[in-house]
Symmetry: C2
Subunit: 189 residues, 2 copies
């Protein structure tokens, strides 16, 4: 049972880290935005890194919940749901304040594979792939995990390129890529 102050801390931290990056945001700034004293932070978390991991775990739950809800709202057949991932994601990355995939950024800023932050990012990517793989299996893909890797890579490619220098055609081109891969991997009934 997380306290209210704890939630507020993680919430503020997530917003700041998403906008400005992990190393670029100091603890004092998080505290000011959350309206919380420094000792309160260090009562709930052992270190800044532990706070970062908590923000990634929150974002992971939130992102996957949002993705699944949205995908299931847009389509009912597993095959159509696979395809619906990309218009859904496009809506997200088209937001003007979109600042890239926070998990990719976390893994980049904390490069050592055994760092807890890096591992939290890796776990998120794994879970997203797992969801895609489940959909692909339900849709009758011969190699659902393989398709999950392919679509996962497309998603990350979309986010990276959109953040570096967005472009009208990008989202549509990536969506078309996904359609071709899905069409090829899952025979139409």
């Amino acid at each position: 049972m997380p306290s209210a102050k704890q939630e507020q801390l993680v919430e503020s931290a997530l917003g700041l880290f998403e906008r400005l990056g992990f190393h670029a945001v100091g603890i004092d700034r998080v505290l000011a935005e959350a309206g919380v004293a420094k000792m309160t932070l260090y009562n709930h978390f052992r270190s800044k890194d532990e706070l970062i991991v908590a923000t990634l775990e929150l974002k992971d739950r939130r992102f996957r919940s949002w993705l699944m809800t949205e995908v299931e709202r847009r389509a009912s057949e597993p095959r159509d749901r696979l395809l619906a991932i990309f218009p859904t994601l496009s809506e997200e990355v088209d937001q003007p304040e979109f600042s890239g995939c926070i998990f990719a950024r976390a893994a980049a800023e904390f490069g050592e594979m055994d760092h807890p932050v890096h591992q939290a990012a890796a776990e998120h990517k794994r879970l997203v792939r797992q969801y895609i793989s489940t959909l692909a299996a339900a849709a009758g893909a011969a190699e659902p995990q393989r398709l999950a890797f392919q679509l996962g890579a497309l998603m990350d490619g979309l986010m990276v390129n959109q953040q570096i220098g967005g472009c009208e055609v990008l989202c549509d081109a990536v969506h078309e890529s996904a359609r071709k891969l899905i069409d090829d991997a899952i025979p139409v009934k």
Copy 2:
């Protein structure tokens, strides 16, 4: 005509930034590794940011030159060269010390679009796309730029996922994606 010391600075900086990140590496560490005095740095560059831009420009030239050389060595027909991009890139990302695309990382650490570092990263992605687009046009693609966006996104997706948590099947799955996209966009003669 860049001085020898200047080249040494950029070279050391590139190595450190690739391994550890831009914010994580201080100037003193670059100076120690390069064996150069601090004033020498500030005689050649106005700021650390300017040094970072120089390292990105060096890496851009080096990466594209390597990519083109390798691709042209592996195949002679434009269409085969497009396909050869992915085994070539796979060789790079399979290195144990691979630490992700430094341009994506730069754009992540310097999020503001108008920051010189961000712009240098964007310029690199644009130039890579331009190369792909040229190959695609020579291969007879109907929409070479569109294919370039698709393959560029695949490249970034490969690099992000390999760095976050590499996997045997990833490179192969992405290569297969590229093959399908190319087959679909360029009719076999």
